[in-house]
């Protein structure tokens, strides 16, 4: 995973986003064990308490499940994974729409642009 952080957002939220990203791209597969808090903290070069917080939040969302002493795993529940994917895509669409709005394009106009892109790629 690419552990890069920006200064103006809580680090724990950035860690959560990175782990979600890892699951979406398949870098972390359903049921896969994730490294311990200490190991993740060492990899990401952040405070273990911060990693702990990120993992606890993800657990609360159901995306990670705690296996007691055996550590945390990525959930295997399709519904939760699907929901997370949906949310992420909606969020992406919203950000995208915001950016187009700066140039005075409505979401519909933006969609046209995106379709144009697809035609170009096909050609």
């Amino acid at each position: 995973m690419n552990w890069k952080f920006v200064g103006d957002r809580p680090v724990y939220q950035q860690i959560m986003a990175l782990i979600r990203g890892g699951i979406l791209t398949g870098e972390l597969s359903p049921g896969q064990k994730i490294p311990s808090v200490r190991d993740l903290a060492a990899q990401a070069q952040v405070n273990p308490n911060t990693v702990q917080r990120a993992l606890t939040e993800l657990e609360r969302e159901g995306l990670l499940v705690s296996g007691g002493t055996s550590g945390r795993r990525v959930t295997e529940e399709e519904a939760i994974l699907e929901e997370m994917k949906e949310q992420t895509i909606t969020e992406l669409a919203r950000e995208c729409a915001e950016k187009f709005r700066v140039f005075g394009l409505s979401p519909a106009q933006a969609a046209q642009r995106l379709m144009l892109l697809e035609e170009q790629e096909e050609a």
């Binding site: 200064g7 103006d8 680090v11 939220q13 070069q45 405070n47 308490n49």
Partner: protein, 237 residues
Amino acid sequence: MENCVLKAVGLTKRYQKTTALDGLDLELPQGKIVGLLGPNGSGKTTFIKLAAGLLTPSSGEIRVCGEPIGPASKALVSYLPDKTYLNRQQRTREILDTFQDFYRDFDRQRAEQMLGALGIDPDARLKTLSKGNQEKVQLVLVMSRRAKLYLLDEPIGGVDPAARDYILNTILSNYDPTATVLISTHLISDVERVLDEYLFLYQGKVIRQGVADEVREETGSSLDELFREVFKCLPNC
């Protein structure tokens, strides 16, 4: 606070006419990495020296894990000074011997391991090492103790960015969750990601204290930005 590692009440330190610390009240919880941040001359080093027992307060009190400052508190505190006190003629190996004799909680194996990872020859005399490497030796010694409170005065001041990362990692991977690390620095952007909490010191008082992620959450700015903003408004700094 129940799990309080350090507690200062009305702590004041005067050097003749200068008041370095002015009735400072402070509690540090267990298991946190805390940034002691403030402009030059705000009292950071004075505070750390008082906690390490190198200075005595003019008035007020300071305790470490409930112990008044003295041999019992010093056994719990591992202190990285802003200037080295090591004998530059000695070899690293000999310095390790000294630490082993002095501190019951010194983990020699760990120290040797870290020095190895840093590629520092244990038979080299300290004076033959570069400034950055000398600082690393000092930090390795301090972090190899199993202390309850680590006081690090400017641990990354004189070293290159790569070594800075290594030092921060050393701090992260070596501190035990029941211990607290107090890091004084003004290189805030470098230490941001490792801090749990921060303290802003100004003219010998704590003017702001809190949780690092809350700053980012509530104000949408980094600690570094907050620091610049807070201290911009104040005169004489």
